[in-house]
């Protein structure tokens, strides 16, 4: 099989994929009691997919991805409160705002080492959190932005108490954006992204504009995160400071690592597993569940995160495995 065929077969949709999505869409209807959690999972999955674009496809370690989530959330909530309550327009507005912010921030991550990037991304999230805290006439400060009333989706479907509409709405947005993102990274353009990730110097030498690629992918990822944030604000009717928190950025990184980096489904799988794990552990010890998450992280890294998603490596020699995102 030559390289072209290989790329094409990678891009083709697997037979199991429509089934998976069908199952996801049936869930809120089959189990109305769990519609809220389906909604949450869909939103964090979108967020994780967005981080995967940055981390998995370009190798930028970001500890402040929550900046875009939060920015999208606040933008959408304010839009609904002051301009119009239509969810789709709000979603568009939140996404666009986050995209603009991402375009501005992409200038900051082009140079420097991993540490510098870590600091700059983290600093961005902290600045936004500080702003949202201090501009309390606009954002409600530490009380959060309350009283966001949403209109019906497409003018027909009201948000109900059990979150069925919310779940379908979020799932639809997730599906659309996911399909777009996948189409995009599987295109020849996306192949250049992976070249940049694997070796920026060589990529530059064969004529790939490295900085341009990084900036564009960062902007698009920011837009996706903003969409996730907008969905979050719209379906909960609330935006609070903790959307910017470090824990959120760390959690989404954990999700991505559970599901596997550099494979867009990784974000989706990781989100499902993480949310279920969160539910189970915080059911047992509500206060100390961060301990178990921390332990999980440490053990995961010690064992090697490749082995979690590729169990057949358990029986191979330790020297065979390679790190995921170098």
């Amino acid at each position: 099989m030559d390289a072209r065929q290989q790329l094409l077969s990678n891009a083709r949709m697997g037979r199991w994929e429509p089934l998976l999505w069908l199952l996801a869409f049936v869930l809120p209807w089959a189990m109305p009691g769990h519609a809220l959690i389906v909604n949450e999972v869909a939103i964090v999955a979108l967020f994780a997919v967005s981080l995967d674009l940055v981390l998995g496809y370009t190798g930028i370690v970001s500890l402040g991805h929550a900046a875009f989530l939060g920015f999208g959330a606040y933008a959408a909530a304010l839009f609904a409160k002051h301009v119009m309550p239509d969810p789709l327009m709000g979603l568009l507005f939140g996404t666009l705002c986050a995209m603009l912010l991402g375009a501005a921030c992409s200038l900051t991550i082009l140079r420097g080492t991993d540490l510098t990037r870590l600091m700059v991304t983290l600093g961005m999230a902290l600045i936004l959190m500080e702003l949202a805290n201090k501009l309390d006439w606009l954002t409600g400060g530490s009380d959060g932005l309350q009283g966001v009333m949403m209109g019906p989706v497409l003018g027909h479907f009201e948000f109900d108490l059990y979150g069925q509409t919310a779940a379908w709405y979020s799932l639809t947005v997730l599906l659309l954006l996911f399909a777009l993102a996948r189409r995009w990274v599987r295109s020849p353009w996306g192949a250049t992204l992976m070249a940049v990730r694997d070796n920026p110097l060589r990529a530059m030498a064969i004529g790939i504009p490295v900085h341009n690629r990084l900036a564009v992918v960062y902007t698009v990822a920011a837009a996706l995160a903003g969409a996730a944030g907008a969905l979050m604000a719209q379906t909960t009717g609330f935006a609070s400071l903790d959307v910017f928190a470090l824990e959120r950025s760390a959690d989404v990184m954990l999700m991505l690592v559970i599901g596997g980096v550099g494979w867009l489904y990784g974000g989706v799988v990781g989100a499902v597993v993480f949310k279920l794990m969160h539910d189970v552990i915080s059911g047992i010890t509500p206060q100390y569940w961060t301990f178990w998450i921390g332990l999980f992280l440490v053990v995961l890294v010690m064992v090697g995160r490749e082995r979690l998603i590729r169990p057949w490596l358990w029986f191979g020699r330790a020297g065979d495995q390679k790190g995921g995102a170098q």
Binding site: G123, I127, V301
Partner: protein, 291 residues
């Protein structure tokens, strides 16, 4: 005016002692350790417990805090951290943030989530006012003076060890190029273990000293992680004077910013950091020649 400068310098000195271990370990092994604040927290809690439950005098607590956290650091280095050096940065970030989460939750479990109060001895509680009423009015809290004195002594000591002793030159050689240093017969692993232990010990000492100034509760590692990282990222990892200047700058900027523009809070510090890092991604005070 001078009082602010004074407080800022005390704060900066404290940050330097807290972060210097991080800076050296990061320079040596290129390891991003987000759990560094956990060591500081351990030192702080050790001091508080010793003073409250066992009534150990404050001055004796400080060396104990140092030794205790250094021991813990050496232990963790030998058992866990050692395996992380060759892994990609993503793994290191995940691993150390996992450790930080664990430390936060366990301290919460054992000590409770409330802020710990430290009882300072009487001779450290007072305050001296100089040139009262003039433009240069300077109020010095005795405890802050004590912090500055201790930290300055430590800085001079560290500089001496790094600059003049055999261990120091080995360490500098390993930071500049670990492979060549190992080729020359320097046992980089051992040097690194020792440095890690001392660095953690210094963080513990800083945590003990800073418990009264910075506040001590279980979220300490996450709350101050950013500050440590700023010191390291802005100061660069190739020397200890870089982090020192960065820490002083950060301390003064933070105190002055919070005093003159309380509305903006920590906004100034973060923006300053991003601006500096865009301007000079490798840090402000980088020595030429090092890797």
């Amino acid at each position: 005016m001078l009082t602010l400068l004074f407080d800022g310098i005390a704060y900066g000195m404290l940050l330097f002692i807290l972060a210097v271990g991080l800076s050296v370990t990061m320079g040596l092994m290129n390891f991003i350790n987000l759990a560094h604040g956990a060591f500081a927290m351990v030192g702080g809690y050790l001091t508080v417990v010793l003073m409250q439950r066992f009534e150990v005098p404050f001055l004796l607590c400080l060396p104990i805090a140092f030794a205790g956290t250094a021991l813990l650091g050496a232990l963790l280095e030998r058992t866990l951290y050692r395996h992380m050096y060759r892994k990609p940065h993503l793994d290191q970030v995940l691993f150390s943030i996992g450790l930080a989460f664990m430390s936060v939750a366990s301290v919460d479990y054992f000590m409770g989530s409330q802020q710990q109060i430290m009882q300072l001895p009487d001779w450290l509680r007072g305050r001296t006012e100089l040139w009262d009423g003039s433009v240069f009015a300077l109020g010095m809290g005795h405890y802050r003076l004590f912090i500055i004195a201790v930290c300055a002594a430590l800085t001079v000591g560290l500089q001496y060890v790094l600059g003049k002793t055999r261990f120091g030159s080995r360490l500098r050689a390993s930071v500049d190029d670990a492979r060549v240093a190992a080729g020359l017969g320097i046992r980089v692993n051992l040097i690194f273990a020792a440095t890690f232990a001392v660095g953690s010990g210094l963080a513990g000492l800083g945590g003990a000293l800073g418990a009264e100034v910075l506040g001590l509760d279980p979220t300490f590692p996450l709350k101050f992680m950013v500050y440590f990282l700023i010191v390291v990222a802005v100061g660069g990892t190739s020397s200890i004077t870089g982090p020192l200047w960065a820490a002083l700058l950060l301390g003064v900027a933070d105190v002055a910013g919070k005093y003159y523009m309380p509305k903006l809070g920590s906004f100034i510090v973060y923006s300053l950091m991003i601006a500096i890092l865009i301007w000079r991604p490798q840090g402000l005070f980088v020595r030429k020649g090092g890797r």
